[in-house]
Amino acid sequence: MSTHTLSVLVENSPGVLARVAGLFSRRAYNIDSLAVGPTENPDISRMTIVINVESHSLEQVIRQLDKLVNVIHIAELKLSDSVQAELLLVKISATSKNRFDVDAVLDTYGAAIVDEDADSMTIEATGDAAKISDLLNALERFGIRELAQSGLVAIERGSGSLADRTLSTQSIPTADSGQADYQN
């Protein structure tokens, strides 16, 4: 078993998340994380899906996903060829007494305080899974009250764009779509 990050461009149409989630569920593929958001094109959304499968079934996952009519393009983003990040919001117990210690941790991880009151503060951080995990370990001693974490999002390194390569869609003349007589 190994972890793979798939970047999936889908039509921004109702039900597309249910189609993808349903496919994973009915074919018994495990999703580690799923993040959906808009892209530079308002008609297209990007799903970043992290799955844990054997390499044989990775191919199956991709082919089955590709059968969904609303799925336009699928690319596997390898760690070495992509920038990957998660978003973390974490509420910790903190007061003015340990504020200095917290600040030191936050500086190390490039994290920021986005909300605070007398006995707690909420911290925002982004980064890859290892960095987020290290930050959480470092914050543990202050007492974690609540945390919210996004799925992973990822983008290919370099100047290329998945959308450029895939959105030259040819139109289908409807003459082909009517009831042709298929009989020999």
Binding site: L68, V69, I72, I172, S177, N184
Partner: protein, 575 residues
């Protein structure tokens, strides 16, 4: 015009000539323009019947079958035929009414999320709430259903979208950026496949239903005769290659012939054409054809490598693929090829040693296999045969002689009991000049026989042979073999109740009955002579007849039994 008129005009523009359905509240606006349409609407008695009828029509004609139902229970009654069509790759468009868009999500009267329900087993589906979207959705639905690997598409339309005013504009172009079926195989794959075929000394053509969908029977014949290998046709492929051809080894799988099962098991190369290595064919997968390399040609890339690794994957339409393979193989053969003679000799000997057969019941009662054999012999290979699911289905697969594609319809993948009567109805509508025999079980028949009323009222004179063993026969067979003969809930008592002759009569059909072997031919001839009414024949057959050969579920094809406790005598075979 109204959205409803736009819908009907869209269906006409898509070339629909017939549809099967039942009106109801949410779809009611559509039924008003249907009243004036050139499309023939056949009013069925249950929506499941509409779905299977559309399937039967599609299987026989190769065109997209159409069914229509209302929201809620009307739509959920289509679930089984849609799942059935998805498993057997049948091009279908289902139209359902939905509650008005403002009521969606409120648990309104007759509301069901049919788009959500059918996501797993439709090729694609739509929920339309804007009447302006209707023509595009219908055009896309027909295109998606009928191209690539065929399958069912559902279009759910909110009632207010049917009622609102709109302009009908049939799209001149479709834009489906995520849907590009690959028809042409890649040259390299064809070359690699041809090279493997030339090297193989024990090849088998493993032919699936895809050959029929692709209308590639003529090409298959050329390929088969060029290669000279044994041809096995799966349950979904019967008729794609003539049973009478000397290279035909029959059906592989759980109830396949010893020749077909063994040819696959002992082969060094499987030339797989539109088949999907279903568990009913492979038996225990890890023991299936262990010495064989695999060429896997299919239009659906996701089938390749799903169950069995493919040494040479070939994605494309089979008509194109086989047409490309033939010259490539000829070129390879010109350079030389392996000798098939020892392989063919041993396979032919095996086939001759273990033909399909059955014992006549010792008590003189009617043998179900005999009945089916005689229906085939007296009706001929131009007729269309439709089966339900169970023992009678396997016997119909084994003992009817198929010579032509699209003459054998059954529910292969989903195994839907009750498929036969409505599918036969749809088949007869699609091929009105053909004789259509539904070979059904007494269990199956009692699930969907109400469509005989539809047949009687709409001049759809199908013939139904009920193979009445008063049991859920296949389940009973498993109880005999694997549950020590403890017949829990498989006794239907259908030689007592219902009276099938009276039931047929009540539904406007001719009802006949037969329980003696000597009467079989006369009854079949009588049924074949009736062409103005549906006919139902209650063949009251020997209860304990079993389907053989058999590979028990989950076991290896090497453990095939030709009868109870009887394995083929492998030691005498030189393999």
């Amino acid at each position: 015009m109204s959205g409803a008129s736009s819908l009907v005009q869209s269906l006409e523009s898509a070339g629909v000539d017939v549809m099967f359905g039942i009106p109801g509240g949410a779809i009611l606006p559509a039924y008003d323009p249907i009243f004036d349409s050139s499309i023939r609407h056949i009013l069925v008695r249950h929506e499941q019947g509409a779905g299977h009828a559309a399937t039967g029509y599609a299987q026989v004609t190769g065109r997209v079958g159409v069914c229509i139902a209302t929201s809620g229970p009307g739509a959920t009654n289509l679930v089984t035929p849609l799942a059935d069509a998805a498993m057997d790759s049948v091009p279908l468009v289902a139209i359902t009414g939905q509650v008005p868009s403002a009521a969606i999500g409120t648990d309104a009267f007759q509301e069901a999320d049919i788009r959500g329900i059918t996501m797993p087993f439709t090729k694609h589906n739509y929920l339309i709430t804007d009447p302006n979207d209707i023509p595009r959705a219908i055009a896309e639905a027909f295109y998606i259903a009928g191209t690539g690997r065929p399958g069912p598409v559902l279009v759910d339309i909110a009632k207010d979208a049917l009622q609102k005013e709109t302009d009908f504009v049939w799209p001149s172009q479709l834009s489906l950026p995520g849907y590009h079926p690959q028809l042409e195989p890649e040259n390299q794959a064809i070359k690699d496949a041809a090279a493997l075929i030339a090297q193989s000394s024990k090849p088998v053509l493993y032919v699936g239903g895809g050959v029929i969908k692709a209308n590639a029977s003529k090409e298959l014949m050329q390929l088969a005769e060029l290669v000279g290998a044994p041809v096995v046709t799966t349950l979904m492929a019967l008729g794609s290659f003539p049973d009478s051809h000397p290279q035909h080894f029959g059906m592989p799988g759980m109830h396949g012939t010893v020749g077909a099962v063994t040819a696959l098991q002992k082969a060094d190369l499987l030339i797989t054409l539109g088949a999907r290595f279903d568990d009913r064919v492979t038996g225990k997968l890890s023991t299936f054809a262990v010495n064989a390399k695999v060429i896997h040609a299919d239009i659906d890339p996701a089938e390749i490598g799903k169950n069995r690794f493919a040494d040479v994957p070939v994605v494309g339409d089979l008509k194109h693929t086989i047409s490309a393979l033939i010259p490539a193989i000829k070129a390879e053969f010109a350079k030389g090829r392996a000798d098939l003679a020892p392989w063919l000799a041993s396979m032919n000997k095996l086939r001759a040693t273990y033909p399909l057969g059955y014992d006549a019941p010792k008590d003189g009662s009617l043998s179900p296999q005999y009945v089916i054999e005689r229906i085939s012999a007296l009706t001929g290979p131009e007729a269309i045969y439709v089966a339900g699911v169970g023992q009678h289905q396997m016997w119909a697969a084994q003992f009817v002689k198929y010579e032509n594609p699209r003459t054998w319809l059954n529910s292969g993948g989903l195994g839907t009991m009750g498929y036969a009567v409505p599918a036969a109805m749809g088949a007869k509508v699609g091929a009105p000049d053909a004789t259509v025999w539904a070979i059904d079980g007494d269990g199956c028949f009692q699930m969907t026989n109400q469509e005989l009323v539809t047949c009687a009222l709409n001049n759809i004179p199908i013939k139904v042979a009920i193979i009445n063993n008063e049991s859920l026969g296949m389940v009973r067979q498993w109880q005999t073999l694997f549950y020590e003969g403890r017949y829990s809930n498989t006794n239907l008592e259908s030689k007592r109740v219902p009276d099938f002759v009276k039931l047929a009569d009540a539904m406007g059909c001719v009802g006949l009955t037969c329980d003696r072997p000597e009467d079989v031919d006369a009854i079949i001839k009588k049924a074949n002579a009736i062409n103005d009414q549906p006919v139902v024949v209650d063949f009251r057959v020997f209860r304990d007849a079993m389907v053989w050969p058999m590979v028990a579920a989950g076991t290896s094809n090497d453990d095939i039994k030709i009868a109870r406790e009887m394995a083929p005598d492998w030691d005498s075979q030189e393999l």
